[in-house]
Amino acid sequence: MSRVEQVDTDQAPLAAKPFYANGKPGPIGETLAQVPELMEVALPFIGVSLGASSVADFRTKELVIVRASALQDCRYCTLTHMAIALDAGVSTEEMKVLRDAPAGAAAGAFADEREAALLAWTDAMALGSGDIPDDVFAEFSRHFSEPAIVDLTMTIGTTLMLNRYCTALELPVAPANLSKLAEAGLA
C-alpha cells in the first residue's frame, strides 16, 4: 500500500479518465489522479521523457532509468524498470551491474564505449550535488548528439524526480513485475 490513496477507476476524476481508458495507469498515475490538473501534464511528460525516442532507443533509456533509480535506492523505480528493461534487451548480468555497482563503477562493466559514457554521465548526475565534471561530459558528448544529450539528461532528471516521489509515497511494485524478476534470477 502506498502512503496516499491510489485512485481507483470508478473514482477517477474527469480529466484523469482518459488515462484509465486502457486499464489502471499504475501507482504513479493512480496517485497523481488525486490532482487531475497535475496528472494531465505530468503523465504525458513522464511518458515522453522516459519513453524511447528517435535519438535514444528503448534499451538506452532503460539503462539510465534503472541505473539512476538504483543509485537513488528507489525500490519502486528500480524493480519496475528492471522488469521493463528485460524486455529492452538488458541482460541479467548487465542488470546486476546496474543495480549493485557502487557509484562510478557501472560504466567499466559495459564494453560498449557509448553505453559506458552514458552510465558515467548517469552516475555523475544521480549522485553528484554540484557541477558535473567536464571530462565526463566530454566523453558523453563524444558519443551522443546534442538532441540526444538533452533527451537523455532530461530522462535522468525525470527519473530522479520520480525516484523521490515514489520512495516518499512508498508506491508498491506490481506483483507481476516481482514474479518476472524472480523468474529471471533477479529477485
Partner: protein, 273 residues
C-alpha cells in the same frame, strides 16, 4: 472560449456554486453529501468565498448558488450572502430549521437584498416529510417561511422526490401556494443515487451525460455540478472532480469548458439542472 461565451452558448450553467460547509443540523436519508452535525466541516472561509465571487463576476458568471450542508449553521452566513449579492444575485439552499433568535434576525436582514433562500420541503404530509428530513422539520419550515417573506426575503421551495414524473404533488403545490410561494418558485428534484441515497438504495444513477455542467467549488476542489462533490461512507467522491486547485478560478472554469466541449454531450436531463 471564455466563461461568458460558454454560458451564452449554453455549454455551462450561469451560476458559480459554492459549498460553504458540509455540516448540517439534519441527517436526511437521501443526502448526497452525508451531511450531519458531526461530519468534517470542509468549510470555505468567508474570505475565500468573497475571492471566488469577485473572480467569478469578472469571468462572466451571472449568479451564485450557495449550498452545503446547512449554510446557515455558519453564524456569519447572512453577512457572507449580503457580500456576494453586492456582486451578483444569490440563491442559497437551506433547510430553514435553524432560523431562531439572532440567526433569524440575521437572515431577516437579507430582506431587500438580491438573495433568495431555497428551502427544502418534500411533502405536504408532516409525517412523510419528517421521515426523510427529521423530526419537527415540517413544523419548523412552515414557521420560518412567513417570517422570511414578511421580512422581504425571497423564498423558493425545493422538493426532492423519488419519481417526480409520477409523484402526486398536488397537496404540496397547494401548500406552497397557500404560503405565498408561486409555482415558478417551486423546484422539484429527483433523488440522485450518490452519498447517503446510494447507501440507502434510493434515487437515480447519474453522470456527466445527465448532469448539466455548473462549476461548483468546495474546499476540496472544483466539480462538474452541485450534485457532484458527494460523500459516500465518509469519503469524498472524485469521479466528477474537475480540478483540485481552484486558484485561479479561471483555470477550473476553462477545464470544465474543455471537458464539456470534449464530452460530445449537448443535451442534459432537465431534472438535474
Amino acid at each position: 472560449m471564455t466563461v461568458d461565451e460558454a454560458i451564452e452558448a449554453g455549454l455551462i450553467g450561469p451560476n458559480l456554486w459554492l459549498y460553504s460547509n458540509y455540516t448540517c443540523n439534519l441527517t436526511c436519508t437521501y443526502c448526497l453529501t452525508e451531511s450531519a452535525p458531526n461530519v468534517p466541516a470542509r468549510e470555505l472561509s468567508r474570505e475565500r468565498m468573497q475571492e471566488l465571487a469577485r473572480e467569478a463576476a469578472a469571468l462572466g458568471f451571472r449568479g451564485f448558488g450557495v449550498t452545503g450542508g446547512e449554510p446557515f449553521l455558519l453564524t456569519d452566513m447572512p453577512g457572507r450572502l449580503a457580500d456576494l449579492s453586492e456582486l451578483l444575485p444569490v440563491t442559497v439552499l437551506s433547510n430553514a430549521t435553524a432560523f431562531n433568535g439572532d440567526r433569524l434576525n440575521g437572515v431577516k436582514a437579507l430582506g431587500g437584498k438580491d438573495v433568495t433562500i431555497q428551502i427544502s420541503l418534500d411533502s405536504a404530509e408532516p409525517i412523510k416529510n419528517d421521515a426523510m428530513r427529521g423530526p419537527e422539520n415540517f413544523r419548523k419550515v412552515l414557521a420560518a417561511i412567513p417570517r422570511l417573506l414578511d421580512a422581504g426575503v425571497g423564498v423558493r421551495i425545493a422538493s426532492t422526490v423519488e419519481d417526480p414524473e409520477h409523484a402526486d404533488l398536488s397537496d404540496l403545490c397547494e401548500l406552497h401556494r397557500s404560503l405565498g410561494i408561486s409555482d415558478e418558485d417551486h423546484v422539484v428534484r429527483t433523488i440522485i443515487r450518490r452519498g447517503r441515497a446510494a447507501t440507502e438504495g434510493m434515487g437515480e444513477t447519474v453522470g456527466t451525460t445527465e448532469l448539466f455542467p455548473e462549476l461548483t467549488v468546495t474546499a476540496d476542489g472544483a466539480f462538474w455540478s452541485p450534485f457532484a462533490p458527494t460523500v459516500a461512507d465518509g469519503r469524498l467522491d472524485t469521479d466528477l472532480l474537475v480540478t483540485r486547485s481552484t486558484r485561479p478560478l479561471e483555470h477550473a472554469a476553462e477545464t470544465l469548458i474543455r471537458l464539456v466541449s470534449g464530452s460530445g454531450t449537448t443535451r442534459y436531463d432537465d431534472r438535474f439542472r
